[in-house]
Protein backbone atom coordinates (compact mmCIF):
# COMPACT_ATOMS: atom_id res chain seq x y z
CA UNK A 1 0.00 0.00 0.00
CA UNK A 2 2.77 2.40 0.88
CA UNK A 3 4.71 1.69 -2.26
CA UNK A 4 6.53 4.73 -3.57
CA UNK A 5 4.74 6.39 -6.43
CA UNK A 6 7.34 5.25 -8.90
CA UNK A 7 5.27 5.61 -12.01
CA UNK A 8 3.72 8.89 -11.08
CA UNK A 9 4.95 10.57 -14.20
CA UNK A 10 3.44 7.87 -16.30
CA UNK A 11 0.21 8.20 -14.40
CA UNK A 12 0.15 11.93 -14.80
CA UNK A 13 0.46 11.39 -18.53
CA UNK A 14 -2.66 9.28 -18.46
CA UNK A 15 -4.73 11.29 -16.06
CA UNK A 16 -4.08 14.87 -16.82
CA UNK A 17 -6.71 16.68 -14.86
CA UNK A 18 -6.07 19.81 -16.88
CA UNK A 19 -7.60 18.28 -19.98
CA UNK A 20 -10.95 18.20 -18.21
CA UNK A 21 -10.65 21.71 -16.93
CA UNK A 22 -9.88 22.89 -20.42
CA UNK A 23 -13.15 21.58 -21.78
CA UNK A 24 -15.48 24.28 -23.09
CA UNK A 25 -18.24 23.47 -20.63
CA UNK A 26 -15.89 24.19 -17.75
CA UNK A 27 -15.05 27.90 -17.94
CA UNK A 28 -11.89 28.88 -16.07
CA UNK A 29 -13.78 30.70 -13.34
CA UNK A 30 -15.33 27.43 -12.31
CA UNK A 31 -12.10 25.47 -12.09
CA UNK A 32 -11.53 25.96 -8.41
CA UNK A 33 -15.11 25.10 -7.65
CA UNK A 34 -14.78 21.89 -9.61
CA UNK A 35 -11.62 20.84 -7.81
CA UNK A 36 -13.44 21.16 -4.52
CA UNK A 37 -16.51 19.37 -5.73
CA UNK A 38 -16.93 15.68 -5.02
CA UNK A 39 -15.92 13.44 -7.90
CA UNK A 40 -19.15 11.52 -7.53
CA UNK A 41 -22.29 12.60 -5.76
CA UNK A 42 -25.44 10.58 -5.22
CA UNK A 43 -28.21 12.98 -4.29
CA UNK A 44 -31.40 11.41 -2.95
CA UNK A 45 -31.05 8.57 -5.42
CA UNK A 46 -33.84 6.02 -5.35
CA UNK A 47 -33.93 2.81 -7.33
CA UNK A 48 -36.95 0.55 -7.46
CA UNK A 49 -37.64 -2.71 -9.23
CA UNK A 50 -41.42 -2.75 -9.37
CA UNK A 51 -42.64 -2.61 -5.78
CA UNK A 52 -39.21 -3.37 -4.37
CA UNK A 53 -37.13 -0.38 -3.35
CA UNK A 54 -33.51 -1.38 -3.76
CA UNK A 55 -32.01 1.96 -2.82
CA UNK A 56 -33.87 4.48 -0.76
CA UNK A 57 -32.84 8.13 -1.08
CA UNK A 58 -29.14 7.43 -1.18
CA UNK A 59 -26.86 10.34 -0.42
CA UNK A 60 -23.17 9.72 -0.89
CA UNK A 61 -20.29 11.99 -1.82
CA UNK A 62 -17.00 10.59 -3.00
CA UNK A 63 -14.01 12.91 -3.17
CA UNK A 64 -11.43 13.07 -5.87
CA UNK A 65 -9.00 10.14 -5.59
CA UNK A 66 -10.88 8.70 -2.67
CA UNK A 67 -11.15 4.92 -2.38
CA UNK A 68 -14.46 3.77 -1.07
CA UNK A 69 -15.37 0.18 -0.32
CA UNK A 70 -18.97 -0.88 -0.23
CA UNK A 71 -19.81 -3.90 1.88
CA UNK A 72 -23.05 -5.45 3.00
CA UNK A 73 -25.23 -8.52 2.76
CA UNK A 74 -26.53 -9.63 -0.63
CA UNK A 75 -29.62 -7.72 -1.67
CA UNK A 76 -28.56 -4.64 0.25
CA UNK A 77 -28.26 -2.64 -2.97
CA UNK A 78 -24.50 -2.33 -3.03
CA UNK A 79 -23.95 -3.56 -6.59
CA UNK A 80 -26.85 -1.40 -7.75
CA UNK A 81 -24.90 1.67 -6.62
CA UNK A 82 -22.14 0.87 -9.11
CA UNK A 83 -24.54 -0.14 -11.86
CA UNK A 84 -26.44 3.14 -11.57
CA UNK A 85 -23.24 5.12 -11.71
CA UNK A 86 -22.17 3.20 -14.84
CA UNK A 87 -25.65 3.96 -16.29
CA UNK A 88 -26.43 0.26 -16.57
CA UNK A 89 -29.50 0.93 -14.46
CA UNK A 90 -31.87 3.87 -14.68
CA UNK A 91 -32.61 5.60 -11.45
CA UNK A 92 -36.17 6.35 -10.37
CA UNK A 93 -35.49 9.47 -8.38
CA UNK A 94 -32.68 11.82 -7.45
CA UNK A 95 -29.59 12.90 -9.36
CA UNK A 96 -26.13 11.41 -9.76
CA UNK A 97 -23.33 13.91 -10.32
CA UNK A 98 -19.93 13.17 -11.77
CA UNK A 99 -17.14 15.71 -11.56
CA UNK A 100 -19.55 18.54 -10.84
CA UNK A 101 -21.86 17.71 -13.69
CA UNK A 102 -25.16 15.84 -13.59
CA UNK A 103 -24.87 12.36 -15.12
CA UNK A 104 -28.44 11.17 -15.01
CA UNK A 105 -29.85 14.55 -15.95
CA UNK A 106 -29.01 17.50 -18.08
CA UNK A 107 -29.90 21.13 -17.84
CA UNK A 108 -32.28 22.34 -20.46
CA UNK A 109 -33.49 25.93 -20.21
CA UNK A 110 -32.69 26.00 -16.54
CA UNK A 111 -34.54 22.79 -15.71
CA UNK A 112 -33.12 19.36 -15.01
CA UNK A 113 -34.45 16.84 -17.49
CA UNK A 114 -33.47 13.16 -17.79
CA UNK A 115 -30.26 12.78 -19.75
CA UNK A 116 -30.42 11.75 -23.38
CA UNK A 117 -28.05 9.19 -24.80
CA UNK A 118 -25.60 11.78 -26.05
CA UNK A 119 -25.29 13.37 -22.64
CA UNK A 120 -24.91 9.97 -20.97
CA UNK A 121 -22.13 9.02 -23.35
CA UNK A 122 -20.27 12.25 -22.78
CA UNK A 123 -20.39 12.17 -19.00
CA UNK A 124 -19.93 8.45 -18.44
CA UNK A 125 -16.73 8.55 -20.47
CA UNK A 126 -15.09 9.53 -17.18
CA UNK A 127 -16.11 6.25 -15.57
CA UNK A 128 -14.68 2.79 -16.08
CA UNK A 129 -15.95 -0.47 -14.67
CA UNK A 130 -14.60 -3.94 -13.96
CA UNK A 131 -17.14 -6.72 -13.60
CA UNK A 132 -17.44 -9.83 -11.49
CA UNK A 133 -17.55 -12.03 -14.59
CA UNK A 134 -14.89 -10.11 -16.54
CA UNK A 135 -17.07 -9.65 -19.64
CA UNK A 136 -14.10 -9.72 -21.96
CA UNK A 137 -14.90 -9.90 -25.65
CA UNK A 138 -14.32 -13.58 -26.44
CA UNK A 139 -13.61 -13.06 -30.14
CA UNK A 140 -10.74 -10.66 -29.50
CA UNK A 141 -7.28 -11.16 -28.06
CA UNK A 142 -6.24 -9.47 -24.82
CA UNK A 143 -4.61 -6.72 -26.86
CA UNK A 144 -7.63 -6.26 -29.13
CA UNK A 145 -9.89 -6.17 -26.07
CA UNK A 146 -7.88 -3.21 -24.81
CA UNK A 147 -7.66 -1.48 -28.20
CA UNK A 148 -11.22 -1.64 -29.38
CA UNK A 149 -12.74 1.17 -27.34
CA UNK A 150 -9.81 3.58 -27.60
CA UNK A 151 -9.95 3.20 -31.39
CA UNK A 152 -13.70 3.25 -31.97
CA UNK A 153 -14.77 5.55 -29.12
CA UNK A 154 -11.84 7.87 -28.50
CA UNK A 155 -10.70 7.85 -32.13
CA UNK A 156 -7.11 6.86 -31.42
CA UNK A 157 -5.09 5.56 -34.33
CA UNK A 158 -4.38 1.83 -34.28
CA UNK A 159 -0.67 2.24 -33.42
CA UNK A 160 -1.49 4.70 -30.61
CA UNK A 161 -4.13 2.40 -29.20
CA UNK A 162 -1.85 -0.58 -29.50
CA UNK A 163 0.96 1.18 -27.65
CA UNK A 164 -1.41 2.21 -24.90
CA UNK A 165 -2.91 -1.28 -24.65
CA UNK A 166 0.49 -2.98 -24.61
CA UNK A 167 1.66 -0.59 -21.89
CA UNK A 168 -1.33 -1.35 -19.73
CA UNK A 169 -1.07 -5.10 -20.29
CA UNK A 170 2.55 -4.83 -19.18
CA UNK A 171 1.41 -2.91 -16.15
CA UNK A 172 -0.98 -5.71 -15.14
CA UNK A 173 1.78 -8.26 -15.81
CA UNK A 174 0.32 -9.73 -18.98
CA UNK A 175 2.63 -8.35 -21.64
CA UNK A 176 3.50 -11.91 -22.63
CA UNK A 177 -0.13 -12.91 -23.02
CA UNK A 178 -1.30 -10.01 -25.14
CA UNK A 179 -2.07 -12.18 -28.15
CA UNK A 180 -4.03 -14.76 -26.17
CA UNK A 181 -7.78 -15.03 -26.41
CA UNK A 182 -9.76 -14.83 -23.15
CA UNK A 183 -10.48 -18.57 -23.35
CA UNK A 184 -6.75 -19.19 -23.10
CA UNK A 185 -6.40 -17.18 -19.88
CA UNK A 186 -7.05 -18.03 -16.25
CA UNK A 187 -9.72 -16.16 -14.31
CA UNK A 188 -7.17 -13.94 -12.63
CA UNK A 189 -5.54 -13.13 -15.96
CA UNK A 190 -8.91 -12.36 -17.53
CA UNK A 191 -9.72 -9.99 -14.73
CA UNK A 192 -6.37 -8.24 -15.13
CA UNK A 193 -7.04 -7.82 -18.85
CA UNK A 194 -10.45 -6.38 -17.93
CA UNK A 195 -8.75 -3.86 -15.65
CA UNK A 196 -6.30 -2.90 -18.40
CA UNK A 197 -9.19 -2.60 -20.84
CA UNK A 198 -11.05 -0.20 -18.56
CA UNK A 199 -7.90 1.85 -17.90
CA UNK A 200 -7.23 2.21 -21.61
CA UNK A 201 -10.15 4.65 -21.69
CA UNK A 202 -8.38 6.75 -19.05
CA UNK A 203 -11.30 7.05 -16.70
CA UNK A 204 -11.22 9.26 -13.63
CA UNK A 205 -13.48 6.97 -11.68
CA UNK A 206 -13.06 3.21 -11.56
CA UNK A 207 -15.77 0.90 -10.36
CA UNK A 208 -14.93 -2.61 -9.19
CA UNK A 209 -17.94 -4.87 -8.84
CA UNK A 210 -16.98 -7.93 -6.77
CA UNK A 211 -14.01 -8.38 -9.07
CA UNK A 212 -12.55 -11.34 -7.17
CA UNK A 213 -15.80 -13.18 -6.40
CA UNK A 214 -15.67 -15.40 -9.47
CA UNK A 215 -12.02 -16.33 -8.97
CA UNK A 216 -10.41 -19.39 -7.47
CA UNK A 217 -8.93 -18.41 -4.09
CA UNK A 218 -5.34 -18.69 -5.27
CA UNK A 219 -5.97 -16.19 -8.07
CA UNK A 220 -7.48 -13.47 -5.88
CA UNK A 221 -4.10 -12.10 -4.85
CA UNK A 222 -2.85 -11.29 -8.32
CA UNK A 223 -5.94 -9.19 -9.05
CA UNK A 224 -5.80 -7.37 -5.72
CA UNK A 225 -2.12 -6.63 -6.34
CA UNK A 226 -3.03 -4.94 -9.60
CA UNK A 227 -5.64 -2.85 -7.84
CA UNK A 228 -3.06 -1.88 -5.19
CA UNK A 229 -0.78 -0.83 -8.01
CA UNK A 230 -3.49 1.37 -9.51
CA UNK A 231 -3.89 3.03 -6.17
CA UNK A 232 -0.18 3.76 -6.05
CA UNK A 233 0.37 4.85 -9.63
CA UNK A 234 -2.78 6.48 -10.96
CA UNK A 235 -4.95 9.39 -9.96
CA UNK A 236 -8.15 7.45 -9.71
CA UNK A 237 -11.28 7.68 -7.67
CA UNK A 238 -12.18 4.11 -6.84
CA UNK A 239 -15.42 2.64 -5.72
CA UNK A 240 -15.50 -1.05 -5.02
CA UNK A 241 -18.07 -3.55 -3.94
CA UNK A 242 -16.19 -6.32 -2.24
CA UNK A 243 -16.37 -9.33 0.01
CA UNK A 244 -12.64 -9.14 0.71
CA UNK A 245 -12.83 -7.49 4.12
CA UNK A 246 -9.08 -7.61 4.58
CA UNK A 247 -8.51 -5.80 1.31
CA UNK A 248 -11.23 -3.26 2.02
CA UNK A 249 -9.60 -2.52 5.36
CA UNK A 250 -6.13 -2.17 3.94
CA UNK A 251 -6.93 -0.36 0.71
CA UNK A 252 -9.83 2.01 1.19
CA UNK A 253 -10.10 5.43 2.78
CA UNK A 254 -13.70 4.85 3.67
CA UNK A 255 -15.98 1.86 4.05
CA UNK A 256 -19.75 2.03 3.60
CA UNK A 257 -21.92 -0.69 5.06
CA UNK A 258 -25.16 -1.07 3.14
CA UNK A 259 -28.22 -2.60 4.65
CA UNK A 260 -31.74 -2.67 3.21
CA UNK A 261 -31.08 -0.09 0.52
CA UNK A 262 -29.47 2.43 2.84
CA UNK A 263 -26.03 3.20 4.16
CA UNK A 264 -26.38 1.80 7.65
CA UNK A 265 -22.92 2.91 8.70
CA UNK A 266 -19.84 4.43 7.17
CA UNK A 267 -16.45 5.48 8.35
CA UNK A 268 -12.75 4.88 8.10
CA UNK A 269 -11.75 1.21 7.85
CA UNK A 270 -10.33 1.27 11.37
CA UNK A 271 -13.51 2.74 12.74
CA UNK A 272 -15.92 0.49 10.87
CA UNK A 273 -14.06 -2.76 11.27
CA UNK A 274 -12.56 -1.97 14.68
CA UNK A 275 -15.45 -0.34 16.44
CA UNK A 276 -18.72 -0.73 14.49
CA UNK A 277 -21.55 1.33 15.99
CA UNK A 278 -24.48 -0.23 14.20
CA UNK A 279 -25.93 -3.54 15.37
CA UNK A 280 -26.38 -4.68 11.74
CA UNK A 281 -22.76 -3.92 10.95
CA UNK A 282 -21.62 -5.94 13.94
CA UNK A 283 -23.82 -8.88 12.91
CA UNK A 284 -22.61 -8.74 9.33
CA UNK A 285 -18.95 -8.51 10.24
CA UNK A 286 -19.10 -11.32 12.74
CA UNK A 287 -20.97 -13.49 10.21
CA UNK A 288 -18.32 -12.78 7.59
CA UNK A 289 -15.49 -13.48 10.01
CA UNK A 290 -17.12 -16.71 11.13
CA UNK A 291 -17.28 -17.92 7.55
CA UNK A 292 -13.51 -17.58 7.21
Amino acid sequence: MNEPRVRLQNAAMYYDALTVLGQPNFPMAQNEKIMNQPMVRFENVTKRYGALTVLDKLNLDISRNERVSIIGPSGSGKTTVLRMLMTLERINDGVIWVNGEPLTHMQRSGRMVPANNRHLRRVRGQIGMVFQHFNLFPHMTALQNCMEAPVSVLGLSKPEAEARAADLLDMVGLGEKKNHFPIQLSGGQKQRVAIARALAMRPKVMLFDEVTSALDPELVGEVLNVIRKLGAEFDLTMLMVTHQMGFAKEFSNRVCFFYGGKIAEQGSPDQLFGDPQNERTRQFLSAVLEAK
Binding site: M86, T87, L88, R121, R124, G125, I127, G128, M129, F131, H133, F134, N135, L136, F137, P138, H139, M140, T141, E148, A149, S152, V153, F181, P182, I183, R197, A198, M201
Partner: protein, 219 residues
Protein backbone atom coordinates in the same frame (compact mmCIF):
# COMPACT_ATOMS: atom_id res chain seq x y z
CA UNK B 1 -33.52 -42.19 -74.21
CA UNK B 2 -31.28 -42.54 -71.19
CA UNK B 3 -28.84 -39.93 -72.42
CA UNK B 4 -31.71 -37.51 -72.87
CA UNK B 5 -32.66 -38.15 -69.27
CA UNK B 6 -29.15 -37.56 -68.04
CA UNK B 7 -28.83 -34.32 -69.99
CA UNK B 8 -32.17 -33.08 -68.59
CA UNK B 9 -31.05 -33.96 -65.08
CA UNK B 10 -27.74 -32.13 -65.47
CA UNK B 11 -29.54 -29.06 -66.71
CA UNK B 12 -32.04 -29.32 -63.89
CA UNK B 13 -29.25 -29.60 -61.37
CA UNK B 14 -27.64 -26.44 -62.71
CA UNK B 15 -30.94 -24.55 -62.49
CA UNK B 16 -31.46 -25.73 -58.91
CA UNK B 17 -27.95 -24.64 -57.98
CA UNK B 18 -28.44 -21.19 -59.48
CA UNK B 19 -31.80 -20.63 -57.78
CA UNK B 20 -30.42 -21.93 -54.48
CA UNK B 21 -27.40 -19.69 -54.63
CA UNK B 22 -29.42 -16.60 -55.62
CA UNK B 23 -32.11 -17.19 -53.02
CA UNK B 24 -29.49 -17.88 -50.34
CA UNK B 25 -27.86 -14.53 -50.99
CA UNK B 26 -31.20 -12.71 -50.96
CA UNK B 27 -32.19 -14.48 -47.75
CA UNK B 28 -28.92 -13.88 -45.97
CA UNK B 29 -28.97 -10.15 -46.64
CA UNK B 30 -32.67 -9.68 -45.86
CA UNK B 31 -32.66 -11.89 -42.77
CA UNK B 32 -29.76 -9.95 -41.32
CA UNK B 33 -31.45 -6.61 -41.96
CA UNK B 34 -34.88 -7.70 -40.69
CA UNK B 35 -33.35 -9.54 -37.70
CA UNK B 36 -31.53 -6.37 -36.68
CA UNK B 37 -34.71 -4.34 -37.17
CA UNK B 38 -36.49 -6.85 -34.96
CA UNK B 39 -34.26 -5.92 -32.01
CA UNK B 40 -34.21 -2.19 -32.75
CA UNK B 41 -34.85 0.12 -29.80
CA UNK B 42 -37.24 2.04 -32.07
CA UNK B 43 -40.72 0.57 -31.77
CA UNK B 44 -42.10 1.25 -35.28
CA UNK B 45 -38.99 -0.36 -36.79
CA UNK B 46 -39.58 -3.40 -34.62
CA UNK B 47 -43.24 -3.56 -35.61
CA UNK B 48 -42.31 -3.41 -39.27
CA UNK B 49 -39.94 -6.34 -38.79
CA UNK B 50 -42.57 -8.34 -36.90
CA UNK B 51 -45.08 -7.74 -39.70
CA UNK B 52 -42.56 -8.85 -42.29
CA UNK B 53 -41.61 -11.99 -40.38
CA UNK B 54 -45.18 -13.02 -39.63
CA UNK B 55 -46.30 -12.47 -43.20
CA UNK B 56 -43.53 -14.46 -44.85
CA UNK B 57 -43.53 -17.24 -42.28
CA UNK B 58 -47.28 -17.42 -41.94
CA UNK B 59 -48.27 -17.84 -45.56
CA UNK B 60 -47.52 -20.65 -47.97
CA UNK B 61 -44.34 -20.37 -50.02
CA UNK B 62 -46.06 -21.76 -53.09
CA UNK B 63 -48.92 -19.27 -52.80
CA UNK B 64 -46.42 -16.45 -52.31
CA UNK B 65 -44.60 -17.52 -55.46
CA UNK B 66 -47.88 -17.79 -57.35
CA UNK B 67 -48.80 -14.34 -56.17
CA UNK B 68 -45.59 -12.73 -57.37
CA UNK B 69 -45.84 -14.62 -60.65
CA UNK B 70 -49.53 -14.48 -61.53
CA UNK B 71 -50.96 -11.60 -59.49
CA UNK B 72 -48.29 -8.93 -59.80
CA UNK B 73 -48.75 -8.79 -63.60
CA UNK B 74 -52.37 -7.77 -62.97
CA UNK B 75 -50.91 -4.62 -61.40
CA UNK B 76 -48.64 -4.20 -64.40
CA UNK B 77 -45.53 -5.74 -62.85
CA UNK B 78 -44.50 -8.84 -64.77
CA UNK B 79 -41.43 -10.51 -63.35
CA UNK B 80 -39.42 -13.23 -65.02
CA UNK B 81 -39.71 -16.75 -63.57
CA UNK B 82 -36.07 -16.50 -62.47
CA UNK B 83 -36.64 -13.29 -60.58
CA UNK B 84 -39.72 -14.71 -58.90
CA UNK B 85 -37.90 -17.93 -58.05
CA UNK B 86 -34.88 -16.25 -56.49
CA UNK B 87 -36.67 -13.42 -54.72
CA UNK B 88 -39.82 -15.40 -53.91
CA UNK B 89 -37.90 -18.12 -52.11
CA UNK B 90 -35.39 -15.65 -50.69
CA UNK B 91 -38.09 -13.45 -49.19
CA UNK B 92 -39.96 -16.34 -47.65
CA UNK B 93 -36.87 -17.92 -46.11
CA UNK B 94 -35.70 -14.56 -44.76
CA UNK B 95 -38.78 -14.50 -42.53
CA UNK B 96 -37.46 -17.58 -40.78
CA UNK B 97 -33.88 -16.35 -40.97
CA UNK B 98 -34.72 -13.05 -39.28
CA UNK B 99 -35.94 -14.95 -36.23
CA UNK B 100 -32.72 -16.96 -36.21
CA UNK B 101 -30.77 -13.69 -36.29
CA UNK B 102 -32.87 -12.24 -33.46
CA UNK B 103 -32.39 -15.33 -31.31
CA UNK B 104 -28.64 -15.23 -31.87
CA UNK B 105 -28.41 -11.53 -31.02
CA UNK B 106 -30.44 -11.98 -27.86
CA UNK B 107 -28.36 -14.99 -26.87
CA UNK B 108 -25.19 -12.89 -26.71
CA UNK B 109 -24.29 -12.63 -23.05
CA UNK B 110 -25.74 -9.64 -21.19
CA UNK B 111 -22.28 -8.91 -19.86
CA UNK B 112 -21.11 -8.13 -23.37
CA UNK B 113 -23.69 -5.36 -23.65
CA UNK B 114 -22.79 -4.07 -20.20
CA UNK B 115 -19.08 -4.03 -20.98
CA UNK B 116 -19.88 -2.17 -24.19
CA UNK B 117 -21.78 0.49 -22.26
CA UNK B 118 -19.00 0.72 -19.67
CA UNK B 119 -16.50 1.28 -22.50
CA UNK B 120 -18.85 3.91 -23.89
CA UNK B 121 -19.41 2.32 -27.31
CA UNK B 122 -22.13 3.80 -29.48
CA UNK B 123 -24.95 1.36 -30.12
CA UNK B 124 -23.84 0.97 -33.71
CA UNK B 125 -20.25 0.13 -32.76
CA UNK B 126 -21.47 -2.25 -30.08
CA UNK B 127 -23.62 -4.12 -32.58
CA UNK B 128 -21.00 -4.11 -35.32
CA UNK B 129 -17.88 -4.93 -33.34
CA UNK B 130 -19.06 -6.84 -30.30
CA UNK B 131 -22.55 -8.29 -30.68
CA UNK B 132 -22.81 -9.29 -34.33
CA UNK B 133 -19.48 -11.13 -34.61
CA UNK B 134 -20.60 -13.34 -31.73
CA UNK B 135 -24.20 -13.62 -32.92
CA UNK B 136 -23.28 -14.54 -36.49
CA UNK B 137 -20.96 -17.25 -35.28
CA UNK B 138 -23.70 -18.64 -33.07
CA UNK B 139 -26.36 -18.61 -35.77
CA UNK B 140 -24.35 -20.48 -38.39
CA UNK B 141 -25.56 -24.00 -37.49
CA UNK B 142 -29.18 -22.85 -37.84
CA UNK B 143 -28.17 -21.04 -40.99
CA UNK B 144 -26.98 -24.35 -42.42
CA UNK B 145 -30.37 -25.85 -41.63
CA UNK B 146 -32.10 -23.00 -43.31
CA UNK B 147 -30.04 -23.15 -46.49
CA UNK B 148 -30.71 -26.87 -46.83
CA UNK B 149 -34.44 -26.26 -46.36
CA UNK B 150 -34.19 -23.53 -48.96
CA UNK B 151 -32.45 -25.87 -51.38
CA UNK B 152 -35.33 -28.31 -51.17
CA UNK B 153 -37.92 -25.55 -51.49
CA UNK B 154 -36.52 -24.65 -54.91
CA UNK B 155 -38.43 -27.59 -56.39
CA UNK B 156 -41.59 -25.50 -56.03
CA UNK B 157 -40.36 -23.23 -58.80
CA UNK B 158 -41.44 -25.95 -61.21
CA UNK B 159 -44.93 -24.47 -60.80
CA UNK B 160 -43.76 -21.23 -62.36
CA UNK B 161 -42.28 -22.97 -65.39
CA UNK B 162 -38.73 -23.44 -64.14
CA UNK B 163 -37.27 -26.81 -65.11
CA UNK B 164 -35.29 -27.45 -61.95
CA UNK B 165 -33.83 -30.71 -60.68
CA UNK B 166 -36.95 -32.43 -59.30
CA UNK B 167 -39.05 -31.68 -62.36
CA UNK B 168 -36.18 -32.81 -64.58
CA UNK B 169 -36.02 -36.10 -62.70
CA UNK B 170 -39.77 -36.52 -63.00
CA UNK B 171 -39.62 -35.77 -66.72
CA UNK B 172 -36.75 -38.20 -67.25
CA UNK B 173 -38.52 -40.89 -65.23
CA UNK B 174 -41.80 -40.39 -67.09
CA UNK B 175 -40.07 -40.44 -70.45
CA UNK B 176 -37.90 -43.48 -69.85
CA UNK B 177 -40.15 -45.34 -67.46
CA UNK B 178 -37.15 -45.85 -65.18
CA UNK B 179 -38.60 -44.43 -61.96
CA UNK B 180 -36.23 -46.34 -59.71
CA UNK B 181 -33.16 -44.92 -61.37
CA UNK B 182 -34.16 -41.29 -61.77
CA UNK B 183 -35.86 -40.74 -58.45
CA UNK B 184 -32.95 -42.42 -56.69
CA UNK B 185 -30.58 -40.14 -58.55
CA UNK B 186 -32.80 -37.20 -57.53
CA UNK B 187 -32.61 -38.23 -53.88
CA UNK B 188 -28.84 -38.36 -53.98
CA UNK B 189 -28.63 -35.21 -56.07
CA UNK B 190 -30.10 -33.10 -53.25
CA UNK B 191 -28.09 -34.96 -50.69
CA UNK B 192 -24.88 -34.23 -52.54
CA UNK B 193 -25.61 -30.50 -52.86
CA UNK B 194 -26.42 -30.30 -49.17
CA UNK B 195 -23.58 -32.48 -48.01
CA UNK B 196 -20.86 -31.48 -50.46
CA UNK B 197 -21.59 -27.77 -50.87
CA UNK B 198 -23.75 -26.22 -48.16
CA UNK B 199 -22.51 -28.08 -45.10
CA UNK B 200 -18.78 -27.68 -45.83
CA UNK B 201 -19.32 -24.01 -46.64
CA UNK B 202 -21.12 -23.36 -43.36
CA UNK B 203 -18.52 -25.34 -41.42
CA UNK B 204 -15.77 -23.37 -43.09
CA UNK B 205 -17.47 -20.10 -42.09
CA UNK B 206 -17.83 -21.39 -38.55
CA UNK B 207 -14.16 -22.14 -38.33
CA UNK B 208 -13.23 -18.78 -39.80
CA UNK B 209 -15.34 -16.93 -37.29
CA UNK B 210 -14.31 -19.01 -34.32
CA UNK B 211 -11.05 -17.63 -32.98
CA UNK B 212 -11.37 -17.38 -29.25
CA UNK B 213 -14.14 -19.94 -28.88
CA UNK B 214 -13.88 -23.35 -27.29
CA UNK B 215 -15.70 -25.07 -30.05
CA UNK B 216 -12.89 -24.17 -32.38
CA UNK B 217 -11.05 -27.15 -30.98
CA UNK B 218 -14.03 -29.42 -31.36
CA UNK B 219 -15.13 -28.49 -34.89
Amino acid sequence: MLSFGVAALAKGMLVTLIVTLGASLVTSVLALIVGLMRVSPIKPVRWLAIGYIEFFRGTSLLVQVYWWFFVLPIFGLALSPWTVAIFGIGLCASGYGAEVVRAAIQAVDRGQYEASIALNFSRLTMMRRIVMPQAIRALLPSWGNMLIELLKATSLTFFITIAEFTSAAKLAADTTGNYLLFFTVALFGYYIIARALITPFVRWLERRLSPGFVREAMA
